[in-house]
């Protein structure tokens, strides 16, 4: 196995399951539909909440996608093979996260104009929302991967994983929605974006190593 052949196969697996990617999108949409229906459909409620709702939906969609990230690899023995492959495990893990991120987030961004219109997001803050997504979402994937690897050997690890990683998701959500709110109120928001970027970079450094450790601990 080489890094490139691994990358290609990962991509292929996801393409073979393109329905799953589409479904991730549809889940995102459905959560967004749930809120106006369940809480309140009026623009007075929705417009200020739009950024928050979109971010909540994003977090949930990413959680769903990432929860089973290593599950199949674990069950079919691929994870064991990665460990004994002699390649650098952190790098392999990073590649996997990269593939997943691009396959989930890019289509999500494409849907965004529509969804933010449905939630009456003020026009001006749309680009801030996009910026927070681009800068913030990598950290969600990177942090999530650690939890996913930790819990992969548990048969129903989904819940435990949530518990482990959600505390780390909260600051990302708070900064991101904070930036959007600041933009809506005409306040400066670049500081918050910088914070998001910092979190993403930090997790970029830490996550692959920690995920690799968790993977190793899981396959025994």
């Amino acid at each position: 196995m080489t890094y490139f052949s691994y990358f290609k196969a990962e991509f292929l697996v996801l393409l073979r399951r393109k329905q799953d990617v589409i479904n991730a999108l549809l889940f995102f949409i459905t959560v967004i539909v749930l809120f106006p229906l369940g809480v309140s459909p009026s623009p007075i409620f929705l417009a200020p909440a739009a950024g928050g709702i979109i971010w909540c939906a994003l977090v949930l969609a990413i959680l769903m996608a990432i929860e089973s990230m290593f599950k199949e690899d674990y069950n079919d023995g691929s994870l064991e093979q990665l460990v004994v492959s002699g390649l650098s495990l952190p790098l392999l893990v990073l590649l996997k996260i990269l593939v997943l991120w691009s396959v989930i987030v890019i289509p999500l961004l494409l849907m965004l104009p529509l969804l933010s219109a449905m939630l009456y997001l003020p026009e001006g803050s749309f680009w801030v929302l996009v910026a927070t997504l681009l800068v913030g979402s990598p950290s969600l994937f990177l942090i999530g991967a650690i939890g996913s690897a930790l819990t992969v050997s548990l048969k129903q690890g989904a819940m435990l994983m949530l518990l482990v990683i959600l505390p780390f998701y909260l600051p990302v959500v708070v900064f991101a929605t904070g930036a959007i709110k600041a933009a809506q109120e005409g306040l400066p928001y670049s500081g918050l974006l910088a914070m998001l970027l910092a979190i993403s970079l930090l997790s970029l450094v830490l996550s692959p190593v920690m995920t690799a450790i968790s993977v190793k601990a899981s396959v025994n």
């Binding site: 697996v13 079919d76 691929s78």
Partner: protein, 204 residues
């Protein structure tokens, strides 16, 4: 392939779930040798192979490969070894060919075709792995032995699910490999027909 290499295990102590599987285990395996690990169900055969491959860590002991201590960093061994366990890392949504290309991106089309043909799974090359029978899946996993140029083979029950022809095929391939200077360590509950092997018996 190096001319003469050896895998030396000394003083190995493996513990699993509070039970000692082996303690003070010592053996040496050289180029050209096949070692068969024997023992009752639960004796610790699979665990031993996993320890050597680097999937799980031993409690104590040294592992040396080609004169170097690899106990803590298994990399040198791993780059020269192939480990095939019970579930062998076959992705069920990928086709047979894609699965093999995942491990051997540089194998030529002819080579791949020859190997698949040899294992009589050529006509399944484009079938997703989840649609294979137990024996066919195992053949896909074993195809890696034909494609790789690795020295050390660690095989956990490689004959399981294979039919008689398949077993003969694998046995002769193992023989060729050790003739060419390879090292093989395998577990099995079946008798070997043509392979000359050293036996290591684990008792629980």
């Amino acid at each position: 392939m190096q001319s003469i290499v050896s895998l030396t295990i000394s003083d190995l102590w493996i513990e699993r779930g509070d039970r000692d599987l082996c303690k003070g285990l010592f053996f040496e395996l050289k180029s050209g040798q096949v070692m068969r690990v024997l023992g009752e169900n639960g004796a610790g055969k699979s665990s031993l192979l996993k320890v050597i491959a680097g999937v799980i860590a031993p409690l104590e002991g040294q592992i040396q490969y080609a004169g170097q201590d690899v106990t803590h960093d298994r990399k040198i061994l791993q780059q020269d070894a192939i480990y095939i366990g019970h579930s062998a890392g076959i992705k069920s949504v990928l086709t047979v060919e894609e699965n093999l290309r995942r491990y051997y991106p540089s194998a030529s089309a002819d080579e791949l075709e020859a190997v698949l043909d040899n294992l009589s799974i050529l006509d399944l090359a484009d079938t997703p792995a989840k649609k294979l029978s137990a024996g066919q899946t195992r053949r896909v996993a074993l195809a890696r032995l034909w494609l790789s140029k690795k020295n050390v083979w660690l095989l956990d029950e490689p004959f399981a699910a294979l039919d008689i022809k398949g077993i003969a095929l694998l046995e002769s391939h193992i023989e060729q490999h050790v003739l060419a200077g390879g090292l093989v360590m395998l577990t099995t509950h079946q008798d070997l027909h043509s392979i000359q092997s050293y036996d290591l018996v684990l008792s629980p």
